[in-house]
Symmetry: C2
Subunit: 487 residues, 2 copies
């Protein structure tokens, strides 16, 4: 039970707010220490008397002790919240035993700043006690020049397991699974199972809520929950009380499917099998939780065209680069869109007021399209967009856009007439608004659908693509209508 | 174990893909049936011979049987995927015993279409077997004119429990908690606990992974996991093996905190206490999973200004209305932004090419701001944005914008010069680009921070607010610079 190791208070309960407070405190302390250190190192080092050096060392020991009382996830949080110098200092305070667990919890953006200063043998020492699947997760994130050396530092059996864990493609159940599970035969009695568990006591997998039932060749036969074990008589056989048809996954199933199944059927763990239906690992609910959380956090980043997490305290150049690809694309598309206006500059010369109204059409198109796109992306994530429903969505979004375009277009036309007193221009903007909303809705459906069909992430950069299209379209529709009706 | 009730196959295993296929099949079948029905009802009803009526009834019975073999979550999925007529027909096929569980799983957007046709006593019959917290969740979603009648239909004790569950504010742990839990005293032996569980066998809460340890006045003393129960000797007392400092929550803690704690400490369940530290309920990992999933799905909808889920097959008018508030706001803000251009129309009359270039500045500002905003929103969700970090983020985003503005601004200036051959205009757009990206980054940080500080959802409508601001700013900066340097 991981939570037992978290700091306890005298009342025998721990509330998360206490924890937050002590986390805040230690972040403060570490930041201050790092600052003082820097100040000291700038002044003459000889001037520092022995007493203050001792004090410094004492402070350090206290800080290390407090950090050690934290859950690895909280240590990771503290490290992520610190500026580079303080982070480096704090990392040295983390005990060797906890380092592996902390590395597992730390965000991908911050991981390189921690392992960057470590020698390969230090990394090996830190991760040695982790499971092969956990080591594989970490090794996959290590810089390419360090990873092989770290792998080579493990013993042969471990190397083999890590390599096979690394062989599953990213995003597959195989890459996510935990290799550590307990299995029994179906003719065993519950008493025997209980004896087995007690014997394994100190070597049991974490979150061990279910035991898998297999036959002689390790093929999956069923699942026995701890609850089933507790609620039935010890003389009963596994076969009598087990769940005969547990939800299971193949190693090459997408993680997305596993996440959906856990959510829907309230699973705590599920067996993973190979093509011969032999159990090779398990998926636990805590891994699913981490997965969903990571996805949830990255969705709006990906929409804006940011593929990677960023370290809050990482170098500016690195963060800037992270934004270049879509910024460059955006520059090109918006330059293209601006050429659409260029084509119609004879209309603008005659009616300067049009230049004023262009952005309204562009902006309303962009936001309407974004709304539709969000709905479609959501339906996709829920697997609720088969071809018949896609047609239905198209029709519906078309009608919604028609209604809203007519309604709000009329409002806009009235405002335009009140402002500029020209009914021809009011009429043009009315027509442009209806057409623009119709097309924006279609584009909002089309972008994620097309991105997915060509095998891309339907969210990545979708908002940049959408606004580029709705901008160019809006300019063309509005100025085109103006050219037809005003010239 | 809920998954046992899912359809089993002869091999004693159930893979989610089988399930998906049969789900697709039944959606097909139901849609076709509903269509046929409609065709029949349009032709003369008398012409339908007895044989085909029998066939129809037989089909129905078969469909009902297949639906009954599904997990409630899958029935909900099927209903959500059907058009209104087919959905209504399918809902009548769902057995009375399953209806309550299905209503719990169905999305808020589709719920009203199902309960809309039911009489209050039918609703009461459907939900009677659910727990008071589950009933409270459903009653909160019922139309205001139906809810009181349904509540009145429950017996007095149940009414009381439902009302107290309803009294917790939305978004609090109290509103999310499950009232059904098992508690024991710390001086009990593990054997006694096991006997208790066996006695309660058919009345145990779902996902019962932990038993809470309380004292005489029901104050929380610790937590006993099923694993601890299984791994230790029956003669040992609860006190000897329990987790003494379990993570717990108060009823008024925000759900967000509970979600973070479950994710971080890999909890399966946690006790909820009142102000006197007395246990009043529990939070389970499956509820947390549902919560995260719902949040993840709604994030990009809220960003686009859609507060509610939409029924894919709901009426067009309803969906249109859902989009009105932000569409209206967008119309006003973009009209305001367009007035900024109006102020400078004397510059545009002289340099029509400016009208062509305006949207580039607006678009790049919008997308840069969105990127920054996504990063800030994410840091907020992770609780990593205290005041010192906020300053750091401000500085960093400022530097990133300065670098990117200088770099990509130069590219844009070169393109402009190549296209229009006027170096004054190229210089103006260079300056405008730097200023615009700087301001867009500041706005991207400011919008979620300000929304949260005034107590609003920092995501709701944020993309509409952002583009409105960056548009107006971009126009002002670009045309302002042009007025200064070109006139």
């Amino acid at each position: 039970m991981t939570e037992t190791s978290a700091n306890q208070n005298s009342e025998g309960r721990v509330h998360h707010r206490h924890l937050e407070q002590s986390r805040e405190q230690i972040i403060e302390l570490l930041s201050r220490q790092a600052l003082e250190r820097e100040l000291v190192s700038r002044t003459d080092i000889q001037n520092q008397d022995v007493a203050s050096q001792l004090l410094d060392r004492q402070h350090h020991a206290q800080l290390a002790q407090r950090l050690a009382s934290f859950h690895p996830a909280d240590i990771a949080f503290v490290l992520e919240s610190l500026a580079p110098e303080a982070r480096e200092m704090a990392w040295h305070l983390v005990s060797a035993e906890q380092r592996g667990a902390v590395l597992l919890e730390i965000s991908d953006a911050v991981l390189p700043t921690l392992v960057g200063d470590m020698r390969p043998d230090e990394i090996v020492a830190a991760i040695r006690d982790l499971g092969p699947d956990e080591i594989a997760d970490l090794v996959a994130e290590l810089p390419d020049d360090v990873a092989p050396t770290v792998l080579a530092g493990l013993d042969r059996a471990e190397q083999f397991e890590v390599r096979s864990a690394l062989s599953f493609p990213e995003g597959s159940v195989g890459a996510m699974m935990d290799l550590h599970y307990v299995s029994v035969r179906e003719d065993a009695t519950l008493e025997a199972v209980q004896r087995l568990l007690r014997r394994l006591k100190h070597d049991l997998p974490e979150e061990n809520t279910d035991i898998f039932v297999v036959d002689r060749s390790n093929e999956l036969r069923g699942k026995l929950s701890l609850e089933q074990l507790v609620l039935n008589e010890p003389e009963q056989s596994v076969n009598e009380v087990m769940t005969r048809a547990p939800t299971f996954f193949f190693t090459d199933d997408p993680i997305k499917d596993a996440v959906a199944a856990f959510e829907k059927y309230d699973l705590l763990s599920a067996p993973v099998v190979n093509l011969h239906q032999q159990v090779v690992g398990r998926i636990t609910v805590d891994a699913v939780l981490d997965e969903i959380n990571e996805r949830a956090q990255s969705e709006s980043l990906r929409q804006a065209g940011l593929s990677k997490e960023e370290d809050l305290y990482g170098p500016v150049l690195q963060s800037s680069r992270n934004r270049w690809p879509w910024l460059g694309l955006n520059l090109l598309t918006s330059f293209g869109a601006s050429r659409v206006i260029g084509v119609f500059d004879n209309v603008i010369v005659q009616f300067t007021v049009l230049a004023t109204l262009i952005p309204i059409i562009a902006s309303l198109g962009g936001n309407t399209g974004t709304q539709t796109m969000s709905l479609v992306t959501r339906a996709m994530a829920l697997d609720q967009l088969r071809s018949s429903q896609l047609r239905q969505t198209f029709i519906k979004e078309f009608l919604v856009a028609l209604l809203n375009g007519s309604l709000w277009g009329a409002a806009l036309a009235l405002m335009t007439y009140a402002m500029y007193g020209k009914w021809e221009i009011a009429l043009v903007i009315y027509g442009a608004m209806i057409l623009q909303l119709l097309l924006a809705a279609m584009v909002g459906v089309a972008i994620p659908v097309v991105l997915r069909r060509i095998g891309r992430d339907p969210v990545m950069g979708s908002s940049v693509l959408l606004t580029a299209t709705t901008d160019a379209m809006g300019f063309f529709i509005f100025l085109g209508l103006a050219a037809i009706f005003l010239l």
